[in-house]
Protein backbone atom coordinates (compact mmCIF):
# COMPACT_ATOMS: atom_id res chain seq x y z
CA UNK A 1 0.00 0.00 0.00
CA UNK A 2 2.75 2.37 0.84
CA UNK A 3 4.55 2.40 -2.43
CA UNK A 4 2.87 4.79 -4.78
CA UNK A 5 4.27 3.51 -8.01
CA UNK A 6 3.04 -0.04 -7.52
CA UNK A 7 -0.58 0.76 -6.67
CA UNK A 8 -3.08 1.61 -9.37
CA UNK A 9 -3.95 5.29 -9.73
CA UNK A 10 -7.53 5.74 -8.54
CA UNK A 11 -8.14 9.46 -8.63
CA UNK A 12 -6.31 11.10 -11.45
CA UNK A 13 -6.44 14.89 -11.48
CA UNK A 14 -4.60 16.76 -14.18
CA UNK A 15 -3.92 20.45 -14.26
CA UNK A 16 -7.31 21.69 -13.08
CA UNK A 17 -7.80 25.39 -12.46
CA UNK A 18 -10.48 27.92 -11.67
CA UNK A 19 -10.61 31.66 -11.38
CA UNK A 20 -13.15 33.84 -9.63
CA UNK A 21 -13.42 37.07 -11.51
CA UNK A 22 -9.79 37.94 -12.08
CA UNK A 23 -8.46 35.92 -9.18
CA UNK A 24 -6.85 32.62 -10.09
CA UNK A 25 -7.90 30.64 -7.03
CA UNK A 26 -6.35 27.37 -8.15
CA UNK A 27 -4.00 26.84 -11.07
CA UNK A 28 -2.76 23.69 -12.72
CA UNK A 29 -3.49 21.46 -9.78
CA UNK A 30 -2.58 17.83 -10.35
CA UNK A 31 -2.94 14.83 -8.08
CA UNK A 32 -2.48 11.12 -8.63
CA UNK A 33 -4.06 9.34 -5.70
CA UNK A 34 -3.52 5.56 -5.71
CA UNK A 35 -5.93 3.00 -4.34
CA UNK A 36 -5.70 3.00 -0.57
CA UNK A 37 -3.38 6.00 -0.55
CA UNK A 38 -3.36 8.51 2.28
CA UNK A 39 -2.35 11.92 0.98
CA UNK A 40 -2.25 15.31 2.61
CA UNK A 41 -3.03 18.72 1.17
CA UNK A 42 -1.53 21.61 3.12
CA UNK A 43 -0.82 25.26 2.70
CA UNK A 44 -1.31 28.57 4.45
CA UNK A 45 -4.79 30.02 4.95
CA UNK A 46 -6.36 31.07 1.68
CA UNK A 47 -4.03 28.89 -0.38
CA UNK A 48 -6.97 27.26 -2.17
CA UNK A 49 -7.13 23.91 -0.39
CA UNK A 50 -10.88 23.89 0.14
CA UNK A 51 -11.33 25.21 -3.40
CA UNK A 52 -9.53 22.09 -4.62
CA UNK A 53 -12.04 19.97 -2.69
CA UNK A 54 -14.88 21.97 -4.16
CA UNK A 55 -13.49 21.39 -7.63
CA UNK A 56 -13.06 17.67 -7.04
CA UNK A 57 -16.61 17.31 -5.71
CA UNK A 58 -18.24 19.49 -8.35
CA UNK A 59 -19.37 22.28 -6.04
CA UNK A 60 -17.35 24.51 -8.34
CA UNK A 61 -16.86 23.64 -11.97
CA UNK A 62 -13.20 23.69 -12.99
CA UNK A 63 -12.38 25.98 -15.90
CA UNK A 64 -9.63 23.76 -17.24
CA UNK A 65 -8.07 20.36 -16.71
CA UNK A 66 -9.25 16.78 -16.33
CA UNK A 67 -10.56 14.73 -13.41
CA UNK A 68 -10.85 10.96 -13.64
CA UNK A 69 -11.87 8.36 -11.13
CA UNK A 70 -10.82 4.81 -12.08
CA UNK A 71 -10.74 5.89 -15.69
CA UNK A 72 -14.23 7.45 -15.65
CA UNK A 73 -14.49 11.15 -16.42
CA UNK A 74 -15.73 13.40 -13.63
CA UNK A 75 -14.97 16.74 -15.20
CA UNK A 76 -18.13 18.84 -15.52
CA UNK A 77 -20.23 16.39 -13.49
CA UNK A 78 -22.73 17.54 -10.89
CA UNK A 79 -21.88 17.08 -7.19
CA UNK A 80 -24.40 14.27 -6.65
CA UNK A 81 -23.07 12.42 -9.69
CA UNK A 82 -19.55 12.69 -8.34
CA UNK A 83 -20.68 11.34 -4.97
CA UNK A 84 -22.41 8.49 -6.75
CA UNK A 85 -19.21 7.80 -8.68
CA UNK A 86 -17.34 7.34 -5.42
CA UNK A 87 -15.90 10.56 -4.02
CA UNK A 88 -17.21 11.53 -0.61
CA UNK A 89 -16.23 14.50 1.50
CA UNK A 90 -16.56 16.14 4.86
CA UNK A 91 -16.83 19.87 5.41
CA UNK A 92 -14.49 22.22 7.20
CA UNK A 93 -17.41 24.00 8.88
CA UNK A 94 -19.55 21.01 9.81
CA UNK A 95 -22.60 20.67 7.57
CA UNK A 96 -24.77 18.03 9.14
CA UNK A 97 -28.54 18.08 8.76
CA UNK A 98 -29.32 19.52 12.18
CA UNK A 99 -32.96 18.54 12.50
CA UNK A 100 -32.44 14.96 11.33
CA UNK A 101 -31.35 12.34 13.82
CA UNK A 102 -27.85 10.90 13.82
CA UNK A 103 -29.20 7.71 12.28
CA UNK A 104 -31.09 9.62 9.61
CA UNK A 105 -28.02 11.62 8.68
CA UNK A 106 -26.27 8.35 7.97
CA UNK A 107 -29.28 6.79 6.28
CA UNK A 108 -29.62 9.78 4.00
CA UNK A 109 -26.09 9.23 2.78
CA UNK A 110 -26.59 5.48 2.53
CA UNK A 111 -29.73 5.66 0.45
CA UNK A 112 -27.67 6.74 -2.53
CA UNK A 113 -27.07 3.08 -3.36
CA UNK A 114 -30.29 1.79 -1.91
CA UNK A 115 -32.97 3.20 -4.10
CA UNK A 116 -36.60 2.41 -4.49
CA UNK A 117 -38.96 4.57 -6.48
CA UNK A 118 -41.69 6.92 -5.49
CA UNK A 119 -44.43 4.34 -6.08
CA UNK A 120 -42.81 1.83 -3.80
CA UNK A 121 -42.62 4.51 -1.14
CA UNK A 122 -46.24 5.51 -1.47
CA UNK A 123 -47.54 1.95 -1.67
CA UNK A 124 -45.12 0.65 0.98
CA UNK A 125 -44.33 -2.36 -1.14
CA UNK A 126 -42.14 -5.27 -0.15
CA UNK A 127 -39.30 -3.68 -2.05
CA UNK A 128 -39.65 -0.55 0.02
CA UNK A 129 -39.46 -2.48 3.25
CA UNK A 130 -36.43 -4.47 2.14
CA UNK A 131 -34.61 -1.38 0.99
CA UNK A 132 -35.38 0.57 4.15
CA UNK A 133 -34.32 -2.34 6.29
CA UNK A 134 -31.03 -2.77 4.45
CA UNK A 135 -30.44 0.92 4.81
CA UNK A 136 -31.14 0.90 8.50
CA UNK A 137 -28.90 -2.14 9.03
CA UNK A 138 -26.07 -0.56 7.15
CA UNK A 139 -26.37 2.76 8.95
CA UNK A 140 -26.57 1.08 12.33
CA UNK A 141 -23.53 -1.00 11.55
CA UNK A 142 -21.53 2.09 10.64
CA UNK A 143 -22.61 3.85 13.80
CA UNK A 144 -21.56 0.83 15.79
CA UNK A 145 -18.14 0.76 14.17
CA UNK A 146 -17.61 4.34 15.28
CA UNK A 147 -19.22 3.81 18.64
CA UNK A 148 -22.03 6.29 18.09
CA UNK A 149 -24.89 3.78 18.23
CA UNK A 150 -26.05 5.10 21.59
CA UNK A 151 -26.69 8.49 20.10
CA UNK A 152 -28.49 7.17 17.00
CA UNK A 153 -31.81 8.79 17.81
CA UNK A 154 -30.50 12.08 18.98
CA UNK A 155 -30.64 15.14 16.79
CA UNK A 156 -27.38 15.71 14.97
CA UNK A 157 -27.33 19.26 16.32
CA UNK A 158 -27.34 17.96 19.89
CA UNK A 159 -24.06 16.07 19.51
CA UNK A 160 -20.84 17.41 20.91
CA UNK A 161 -18.45 19.05 18.49
CA UNK A 162 -16.13 16.06 18.39
CA UNK A 163 -19.03 13.70 17.75
CA UNK A 164 -20.33 15.95 15.00
CA UNK A 165 -16.97 15.74 13.25
CA UNK A 166 -17.08 11.99 13.63
CA UNK A 167 -20.62 11.86 12.27
CA UNK A 168 -19.50 13.81 9.23
CA UNK A 169 -16.95 11.11 8.49
CA UNK A 170 -19.46 8.32 9.08
CA UNK A 171 -21.92 10.04 6.81
CA UNK A 172 -19.33 10.37 4.08
CA UNK A 173 -18.44 6.68 4.42
CA UNK A 174 -22.10 5.72 4.14
CA UNK A 175 -22.06 6.76 0.49
CA UNK A 176 -19.68 3.85 -0.21
CA UNK A 177 -16.86 5.97 -1.52
CA UNK A 178 -13.58 4.86 -3.01
CA UNK A 179 -12.03 8.24 -2.26
CA UNK A 180 -12.63 10.12 0.96
CA UNK A 181 -11.84 13.83 1.16
CA UNK A 182 -11.45 15.11 4.71
CA UNK A 183 -11.48 18.87 5.16
CA UNK A 184 -9.67 19.73 8.40
CA UNK A 185 -11.02 16.82 10.42
CA UNK A 186 -8.90 17.76 13.43
CA UNK A 187 -10.04 21.39 13.60
CA UNK A 188 -11.32 22.21 17.05
CA UNK A 189 -10.33 18.87 18.58
CA UNK A 190 -8.19 18.66 21.70
CA UNK A 191 -4.77 16.90 21.57
CA UNK A 192 -6.26 13.73 22.99
CA UNK A 193 -8.96 13.61 20.32
CA UNK A 194 -6.44 14.45 17.64
CA UNK A 195 -4.33 11.47 18.57
CA UNK A 196 -7.37 9.20 18.35
CA UNK A 197 -8.32 10.76 15.05
CA UNK A 198 -4.91 10.04 13.53
CA UNK A 199 -5.33 6.38 14.38
CA UNK A 200 -8.87 6.19 13.12
CA UNK A 201 -8.07 7.81 9.76
CA UNK A 202 -5.60 5.00 9.13
CA UNK A 203 -8.15 2.45 10.32
CA UNK A 204 -10.79 3.88 8.04
CA UNK A 205 -8.44 3.63 5.10
CA UNK A 206 -7.66 0.00 5.85
CA UNK A 207 -11.11 -1.14 6.90
CA UNK A 208 -13.13 0.53 4.15
CA UNK A 209 -10.45 0.32 1.47
CA UNK A 210 -10.75 3.97 0.62
CA UNK A 211 -8.08 6.36 -0.52
CA UNK A 212 -7.92 9.44 1.69
CA UNK A 213 -7.04 13.00 0.81
CA UNK A 214 -6.73 15.18 3.85
CA UNK A 215 -6.64 18.94 4.37
CA UNK A 216 -5.17 19.71 7.75
CA UNK A 217 -3.43 22.53 9.55
CA UNK A 218 -2.08 20.32 12.28
CA UNK A 219 1.36 19.56 10.86
CA UNK A 220 2.10 16.90 13.43
CA UNK A 221 -0.93 14.94 12.33
CA UNK A 222 -0.27 15.38 8.61
CA UNK A 223 3.41 14.47 8.81
CA UNK A 224 2.54 11.51 10.98
CA UNK A 225 -0.05 9.76 8.84
CA UNK A 226 0.24 11.00 5.26
CA UNK A 227 2.29 9.11 2.72
CA UNK A 228 2.61 12.01 0.37
CA UNK A 229 1.85 15.68 0.76
CA UNK A 230 0.90 18.39 -1.71
CA UNK A 231 1.64 21.95 -0.66
CA UNK A 232 -0.45 24.78 -2.09
CA UNK A 233 0.28 28.46 -1.88
CA UNK A 234 -1.77 31.12 -3.67
CA UNK A 235 -3.45 28.41 -5.67
CA UNK A 236 -0.18 27.03 -7.01
CA UNK A 237 1.34 23.68 -6.11
CA UNK A 238 4.72 24.63 -4.70
CA UNK A 239 5.84 21.21 -3.62
CA UNK A 240 4.80 17.58 -3.69
CA UNK A 241 6.51 14.70 -1.98
CA UNK A 242 6.91 12.61 1.12
CA UNK A 243 6.58 14.34 4.49
CA UNK A 244 10.34 14.42 4.77
CA UNK A 245 10.83 16.03 1.38
CA UNK A 246 8.16 18.60 2.07
CA UNK A 247 9.58 19.55 5.41
CA UNK A 248 12.94 20.32 3.89
CA UNK A 249 11.67 22.15 0.85
CA UNK A 250 12.85 25.76 0.92
CA UNK A 251 9.74 27.03 -0.88
CA UNK A 252 7.47 25.46 1.68
CA UNK A 253 9.42 26.99 4.49
CA UNK A 254 9.14 30.39 2.85
CA UNK A 255 5.42 29.99 2.36
CA UNK A 256 4.94 29.22 6.01
CA UNK A 257 7.45 31.74 7.30
CA UNK A 258 6.02 33.84 10.04
CA UNK A 259 3.70 31.11 11.18
CA UNK A 260 6.51 28.82 12.28
CA UNK A 261 8.40 26.06 10.57
CA UNK A 262 6.21 23.17 9.38
CA UNK A 263 6.67 20.01 11.31
CA UNK A 264 6.53 21.63 14.70
CA UNK A 265 2.71 22.01 14.38
Amino acid sequence: MNSTSAAKILLDVNRIGISFGGLKAVQEFSLHLPQGGLYGLIGPNGAGKTTVFNLLTGVYQADTGAIQLSGGNLFGKKPHQITAAGIARTFQNIRLFPSLSVLDNVRLAGQLHNRHGLWHTVLRSRRYHTAEKNLCDKASELLEVFDLQDRAHELASNLSYGHQRKLEIIRALATDPSVLLLDEPAAGLNPQEKKLLAGSIRDIRDRFGVAVLLIEHDMGLVMDICERIVVLDHGITICEGTPKEVQNDPQVITAYLGSGVPGEG
Partner: protein
Protein backbone atom coordinates in the same frame (compact mmCIF):
# COMPACT_ATOMS: atom_id res chain seq x y z
CA UNK B 1 -46.50 57.43 -34.62
CA UNK B 2 -48.84 59.37 -32.37
CA UNK B 3 -49.83 56.20 -30.55
CA UNK B 4 -46.21 55.30 -30.09
CA UNK B 5 -45.37 58.72 -28.63
CA UNK B 6 -48.34 58.68 -26.30
CA UNK B 7 -47.42 55.21 -25.06
CA UNK B 8 -43.86 56.37 -24.61
CA UNK B 9 -44.96 59.29 -22.43
CA UNK B 10 -47.11 57.04 -20.25
CA UNK B 11 -44.32 54.49 -19.98
CA UNK B 12 -41.87 57.12 -18.78
CA UNK B 13 -44.28 58.40 -16.14
CA UNK B 14 -45.22 54.92 -14.92
CA UNK B 15 -41.61 53.82 -15.15
CA UNK B 16 -40.49 56.54 -12.79
CA UNK B 17 -43.17 55.43 -10.31
CA UNK B 18 -42.01 51.81 -10.50
CA UNK B 19 -38.42 52.95 -10.12
CA UNK B 20 -39.30 54.96 -7.02
CA UNK B 21 -40.98 51.98 -5.37
CA UNK B 22 -38.28 49.58 -6.58
CA UNK B 23 -35.65 51.70 -4.82
CA UNK B 24 -37.27 50.92 -1.48
CA UNK B 25 -37.29 47.18 -2.19
CA UNK B 26 -33.74 47.17 -3.40
CA UNK B 27 -32.29 49.17 -0.51
CA UNK B 28 -33.91 46.97 2.12
CA UNK B 29 -32.86 43.85 0.25
CA UNK B 30 -29.35 45.17 -0.16
CA UNK B 31 -28.97 45.60 3.57
CA UNK B 32 -31.10 42.92 5.16
CA UNK B 33 -31.31 40.39 2.30
CA UNK B 34 -35.03 39.86 2.45
CA UNK B 35 -38.02 40.94 0.42
CA UNK B 36 -39.93 43.56 2.35
CA UNK B 37 -43.35 42.34 1.32
CA UNK B 38 -44.94 45.16 3.26
CA UNK B 39 -43.29 47.77 1.07
CA UNK B 40 -46.19 47.88 -1.38
CA UNK B 41 -48.49 48.52 1.56
CA UNK B 42 -46.44 51.56 2.46
CA UNK B 43 -47.17 52.79 -1.05
CA UNK B 44 -50.87 52.21 -0.35
CA UNK B 45 -50.48 54.01 2.93
CA UNK B 46 -48.82 56.89 1.10
CA UNK B 47 -51.73 57.07 -1.32
CA UNK B 48 -54.42 56.86 1.33
CA UNK B 49 -52.75 59.20 3.75
CA UNK B 50 -52.40 61.68 0.88
CA UNK B 51 -56.14 61.38 0.45
CA UNK B 52 -56.78 61.88 4.16
CA UNK B 53 -54.31 64.75 4.52
CA UNK B 54 -55.62 66.60 1.48
CA UNK B 55 -59.22 66.35 2.67
CA UNK B 56 -58.13 67.59 6.05
CA UNK B 57 -56.05 70.42 4.63
CA UNK B 58 -58.71 71.51 2.16
CA UNK B 59 -61.28 71.61 4.93
CA UNK B 60 -58.86 73.62 7.03
CA UNK B 61 -58.44 76.28 4.40
CA UNK B 62 -62.14 76.25 3.65
CA UNK B 63 -62.25 74.62 0.25
CA UNK B 64 -65.27 72.47 -0.48
CA UNK B 65 -64.01 69.14 -1.86
CA UNK B 66 -67.38 68.11 -3.26
CA UNK B 67 -67.85 69.50 -6.76
CA UNK B 68 -64.45 71.13 -6.64
CA UNK B 69 -63.61 72.24 -10.18
CA UNK B 70 -60.42 74.23 -9.90
CA UNK B 71 -57.50 72.79 -7.98
CA UNK B 72 -56.21 74.65 -4.93
CA UNK B 73 -52.90 76.47 -4.84
CA UNK B 74 -49.88 74.32 -5.60
CA UNK B 75 -48.55 74.51 -2.03
CA UNK B 76 -51.41 72.29 -0.90
CA UNK B 77 -50.06 69.46 -3.03
CA UNK B 78 -46.55 70.04 -1.68
CA UNK B 79 -47.72 70.03 1.94
CA UNK B 80 -49.76 66.88 1.41
CA UNK B 81 -46.76 65.18 -0.19
CA UNK B 82 -44.46 66.16 2.66
CA UNK B 83 -46.98 65.14 5.32
CA UNK B 84 -47.59 61.72 3.86
CA UNK B 85 -43.87 61.17 3.35
CA UNK B 86 -43.25 62.01 6.99
CA UNK B 87 -46.12 59.81 8.14
CA UNK B 88 -44.95 56.82 6.12
CA UNK B 89 -41.40 57.37 7.32
CA UNK B 90 -42.60 57.03 10.89
CA UNK B 91 -44.63 53.93 10.08
CA UNK B 92 -41.67 52.37 8.27
CA UNK B 93 -39.44 53.06 11.24
CA UNK B 94 -41.94 51.51 13.64
CA UNK B 95 -42.41 48.37 11.55
CA UNK B 96 -38.69 47.78 11.33
CA UNK B 97 -38.28 48.36 15.02
CA UNK B 98 -41.08 46.09 16.20
CA UNK B 99 -41.29 43.31 13.63
CA UNK B 100 -37.99 42.99 11.81
CA UNK B 101 -35.30 43.99 14.28
CA UNK B 102 -35.95 41.11 16.69
CA UNK B 103 -35.42 38.76 13.75
CA UNK B 104 -32.06 40.14 12.69
CA UNK B 105 -30.35 36.77 13.30
CA UNK B 106 -33.28 34.56 12.27
CA UNK B 107 -33.37 32.54 9.04
CA UNK B 108 -34.38 34.61 6.07
CA UNK B 109 -37.54 32.67 5.48
CA UNK B 110 -38.85 33.66 8.89
CA UNK B 111 -38.30 37.31 8.11
CA UNK B 112 -40.06 36.84 4.79
CA UNK B 113 -43.05 35.30 6.54
CA UNK B 114 -43.07 38.15 9.04
CA UNK B 115 -43.05 40.59 6.15
CA UNK B 116 -46.09 38.85 4.68
CA UNK B 117 -47.70 39.17 8.10
CA UNK B 118 -46.95 42.87 8.27
CA UNK B 119 -48.31 43.29 4.77
CA UNK B 120 -51.57 41.53 5.63
CA UNK B 121 -51.81 43.57 8.80
CA UNK B 122 -51.41 46.92 7.06
CA UNK B 123 -53.88 45.94 4.35
CA UNK B 124 -56.58 44.80 6.67
CA UNK B 125 -56.16 47.46 9.30
CA UNK B 126 -56.44 49.94 6.46
CA UNK B 127 -59.71 48.33 5.38
CA UNK B 128 -61.32 48.94 8.76
CA UNK B 129 -64.08 51.55 8.72
CA UNK B 130 -62.31 53.43 11.50
CA UNK B 131 -59.20 53.77 9.31
CA UNK B 132 -59.61 54.15 5.55
CA UNK B 133 -62.62 51.94 4.96
CA UNK B 134 -63.23 49.14 2.50
CA UNK B 135 -64.66 51.18 -0.36
CA UNK B 136 -62.89 53.11 -3.09
CA UNK B 137 -62.66 56.89 -2.85
CA UNK B 138 -62.03 59.73 -5.24
CA UNK B 139 -58.86 61.69 -4.65
CA UNK B 140 -59.43 65.45 -4.68
CA UNK B 141 -57.75 67.08 -7.63
CA UNK B 142 -54.67 68.84 -6.32
CA UNK B 143 -52.87 69.49 -9.57
CA UNK B 144 -54.37 71.36 -12.53
CA UNK B 145 -55.23 69.09 -15.44
CA UNK B 146 -53.22 71.28 -17.72
CA UNK B 147 -51.61 70.19 -20.93
CA UNK B 148 -48.02 71.28 -20.95
CA UNK B 149 -47.58 70.64 -24.61
CA UNK B 150 -49.36 68.94 -27.41
CA UNK B 151 -48.23 67.84 -30.82
CA UNK B 152 -50.25 66.89 -33.81
CA UNK B 153 -49.17 64.03 -36.01
CA UNK B 154 -50.50 63.59 -39.50
CA UNK B 155 -52.82 65.90 -41.35
CA UNK B 156 -56.46 66.27 -42.19
CA UNK B 157 -58.71 63.46 -41.02
CA UNK B 158 -55.93 61.21 -39.78
CA UNK B 159 -54.50 63.92 -37.53
CA UNK B 160 -53.87 62.68 -34.00
CA UNK B 161 -52.95 64.77 -31.02
CA UNK B 162 -50.35 63.70 -28.49
CA UNK B 163 -50.65 65.33 -25.08
CA UNK B 164 -48.00 65.79 -22.44
CA UNK B 165 -49.96 66.36 -19.26
CA UNK B 166 -48.74 68.34 -16.30
CA UNK B 167 -49.27 65.31 -14.07
CA UNK B 168 -46.97 63.14 -16.17
CA UNK B 169 -44.28 65.78 -16.07
CA UNK B 170 -44.72 66.28 -12.33
CA UNK B 171 -44.37 62.55 -11.75
CA UNK B 172 -41.26 62.37 -13.83
CA UNK B 173 -39.66 65.46 -12.29
CA UNK B 174 -40.48 64.57 -8.69
CA UNK B 175 -39.45 60.97 -9.09
CA UNK B 176 -36.21 61.79 -10.87
CA UNK B 177 -35.18 64.40 -8.37
CA UNK B 178 -35.86 61.99 -5.51
CA UNK B 179 -33.87 59.30 -7.30
CA UNK B 180 -30.97 61.65 -7.94
CA UNK B 181 -31.07 62.65 -4.30
CA UNK B 182 -30.95 59.00 -3.34
CA UNK B 183 -28.08 58.38 -5.73
CA UNK B 184 -26.19 61.26 -4.12
CA UNK B 185 -26.99 59.98 -0.66
CA UNK B 186 -25.86 56.43 -1.30
CA UNK B 187 -22.69 57.20 -3.23
CA UNK B 188 -21.49 60.57 -1.98
CA UNK B 189 -22.27 60.84 1.71
CA UNK B 190 -20.91 59.29 4.87
CA UNK B 191 -24.33 57.80 5.55
CA UNK B 192 -24.24 56.18 2.12
CA UNK B 193 -20.84 54.67 2.79
CA UNK B 194 -22.24 53.22 6.01
CA UNK B 195 -25.22 51.80 4.15
CA UNK B 196 -23.05 50.19 1.54
CA UNK B 197 -20.75 48.81 4.20
CA UNK B 198 -23.65 47.22 6.07
CA UNK B 199 -24.97 45.84 2.82
CA UNK B 200 -21.60 44.31 2.01
CA UNK B 201 -21.07 42.67 5.35
CA UNK B 202 -23.15 43.46 8.40
CA UNK B 203 -20.83 41.91 10.94
CA UNK B 204 -17.69 43.53 9.65
CA UNK B 205 -19.48 46.87 9.40
CA UNK B 206 -20.49 46.54 13.03
CA UNK B 207 -16.90 45.76 14.02
CA UNK B 208 -15.78 48.90 12.16
CA UNK B 209 -17.96 50.93 14.47
CA UNK B 210 -20.87 51.49 12.13
CA UNK B 211 -24.14 51.66 14.09
CA UNK B 212 -25.87 48.92 12.10
CA UNK B 213 -29.26 49.31 13.74
CA UNK B 214 -29.33 53.00 12.97
CA UNK B 215 -28.30 52.43 9.38
CA UNK B 216 -31.05 49.84 8.96
CA UNK B 217 -33.59 52.22 10.48
CA UNK B 218 -32.53 55.02 8.19
CA UNK B 219 -32.79 52.70 5.19
CA UNK B 220 -36.31 51.74 6.13
CA UNK B 221 -37.31 55.34 6.66
CA UNK B 222 -35.83 56.36 3.31
CA UNK B 223 -37.54 53.49 1.51
CA UNK B 224 -40.85 54.32 3.14
CA UNK B 225 -40.53 58.01 2.31
CA UNK B 226 -39.93 57.14 -1.34
CA UNK B 227 -42.86 54.75 -1.27
CA UNK B 228 -45.08 57.50 0.14
CA UNK B 229 -44.02 59.82 -2.64
CA UNK B 230 -44.82 57.10 -5.16
CA UNK B 231 -48.22 56.59 -3.56
CA UNK B 232 -48.93 60.30 -3.75
CA UNK B 233 -47.87 60.56 -7.38
CA UNK B 234 -49.86 57.46 -8.25
CA UNK B 235 -53.12 58.95 -6.99
CA UNK B 236 -52.30 62.19 -8.77
CA UNK B 237 -52.30 60.21 -12.01
CA UNK B 238 -55.09 57.77 -11.17
CA UNK B 239 -57.42 59.65 -8.77
CA UNK B 240 -59.86 56.78 -8.21
CA UNK B 241 -58.40 55.35 -5.06
CA UNK B 242 -58.92 51.61 -4.53
CA UNK B 243 -59.43 50.15 -1.07
CA UNK B 244 -56.19 49.16 0.74
CA UNK B 245 -56.47 45.40 0.17
CA UNK B 246 -57.34 45.68 -3.52
CA UNK B 247 -55.36 43.46 -5.88
CA UNK B 248 -54.26 46.45 -7.89
CA UNK B 249 -51.99 47.62 -5.07
CA UNK B 250 -50.40 44.25 -4.65
CA UNK B 251 -49.78 44.10 -8.38
CA UNK B 252 -48.25 47.57 -8.28
CA UNK B 253 -45.91 46.48 -5.52
CA UNK B 254 -45.15 43.20 -7.24
CA UNK B 255 -44.24 44.91 -10.48
CA UNK B 256 -41.98 47.31 -8.65
CA UNK B 257 -40.36 44.38 -6.94
CA UNK B 258 -39.96 42.64 -10.27
CA UNK B 259 -38.32 45.85 -11.49
CA UNK B 260 -35.84 45.67 -8.63
CA UNK B 261 -35.08 42.00 -9.37
CA UNK B 262 -34.70 42.59 -13.10
CA UNK B 263 -32.30 45.44 -12.48
CA UNK B 264 -30.30 43.35 -10.03
CA UNK B 265 -31.64 43.45 -6.51
CA UNK B 266 -29.55 45.45 -4.07
CA UNK B 267 -28.38 47.68 -6.89
CA UNK B 268 -29.70 51.25 -6.71
CA UNK B 269 -29.15 52.05 -10.39
CA UNK B 270 -30.52 48.64 -11.35
CA UNK B 271 -33.81 49.43 -9.63
CA UNK B 272 -34.24 52.56 -11.72
CA UNK B 273 -33.33 50.74 -14.92
CA UNK B 274 -35.66 47.88 -14.01
CA UNK B 275 -38.51 50.27 -13.30
CA UNK B 276 -38.33 51.70 -16.78
CA UNK B 277 -37.84 48.30 -18.43
CA UNK B 278 -40.95 46.96 -16.73
CA UNK B 279 -43.02 50.02 -17.58
CA UNK B 280 -41.97 49.84 -21.22
CA UNK B 281 -42.72 46.14 -21.50
CA UNK B 282 -46.06 46.61 -19.83
CA UNK B 283 -47.21 49.71 -21.68
CA UNK B 284 -46.04 48.70 -25.12
CA UNK B 285 -47.23 45.13 -24.64
CA UNK B 286 -50.60 46.45 -23.55
CA UNK B 287 -50.83 48.73 -26.52
CA UNK B 288 -49.46 46.58 -29.29
CA UNK B 289 -50.43 43.05 -28.23
CA UNK B 290 -53.34 43.02 -25.85
CA UNK B 291 -54.18 45.11 -22.84
CA UNK B 292 -55.76 42.13 -21.06
CA UNK B 293 -52.46 40.41 -20.45
CA UNK B 294 -50.40 43.37 -19.28
CA UNK B 295 -49.57 41.72 -15.95
CA UNK B 296 -48.55 38.53 -17.70
CA UNK B 297 -45.87 40.27 -19.80
CA UNK B 298 -44.17 41.54 -16.68
CA UNK B 299 -43.90 38.12 -15.08
CA UNK B 300 -42.85 36.43 -18.30
CA UNK B 301 -40.15 39.09 -18.59
CA UNK B 302 -39.06 38.38 -15.03
CA UNK B 303 -38.76 34.65 -15.58
CA UNK B 304 -36.88 35.13 -18.85
CA UNK B 305 -34.37 37.55 -17.38
CA UNK B 306 -33.82 35.45 -14.27
CA UNK B 307 -33.17 32.37 -16.36
CA UNK B 308 -30.63 34.17 -18.52
CA UNK B 309 -29.08 36.36 -15.84
CA UNK B 310 -29.99 35.08 -12.38
CA UNK B 311 -28.47 38.18 -10.78
CA UNK B 312 -30.50 40.64 -12.84
CA UNK B 313 -29.30 43.07 -15.49
CA UNK B 314 -26.82 45.00 -13.38
CA UNK B 315 -26.41 42.47 -10.61
CA UNK B 316 -23.63 39.99 -10.01
CA UNK B 317 -24.19 36.33 -9.31
CA UNK B 318 -22.73 35.34 -5.99
CA UNK B 319 -21.33 31.96 -5.10
CA UNK B 320 -22.13 30.38 -1.83
CA UNK B 321 -19.04 29.86 0.25
CA UNK B 322 -18.51 26.28 1.21
Amino acid sequence: MSDFTQTLITAIAIGSLYALIALGYTMVYGILKFINFAHSDIVVLGAWSSYTFSNWLLKLIGVETKGMTTPPAIWVAVVVLVLSMAFCGVVGFTIERLAYRPLRRAPRLNVLITAIGVSLLLQNVGQLDQVFGASPQKMPQLLPAAELASFTFGEGESARKVVIGLVDVMIFVTASSLMLLMQYLVFHTKQGVAMRAVSYNTDTAALMGIPVDRVVSITFVLGSVLAAAAGFLYVMKYPSLNQPAHTIWVLLGLKAFVAAVIGGIGNVRGAVLGGFVIAFVEQFGAFYISTNYRDVYVFVMLILILLVRPGGLLGVTTREKV
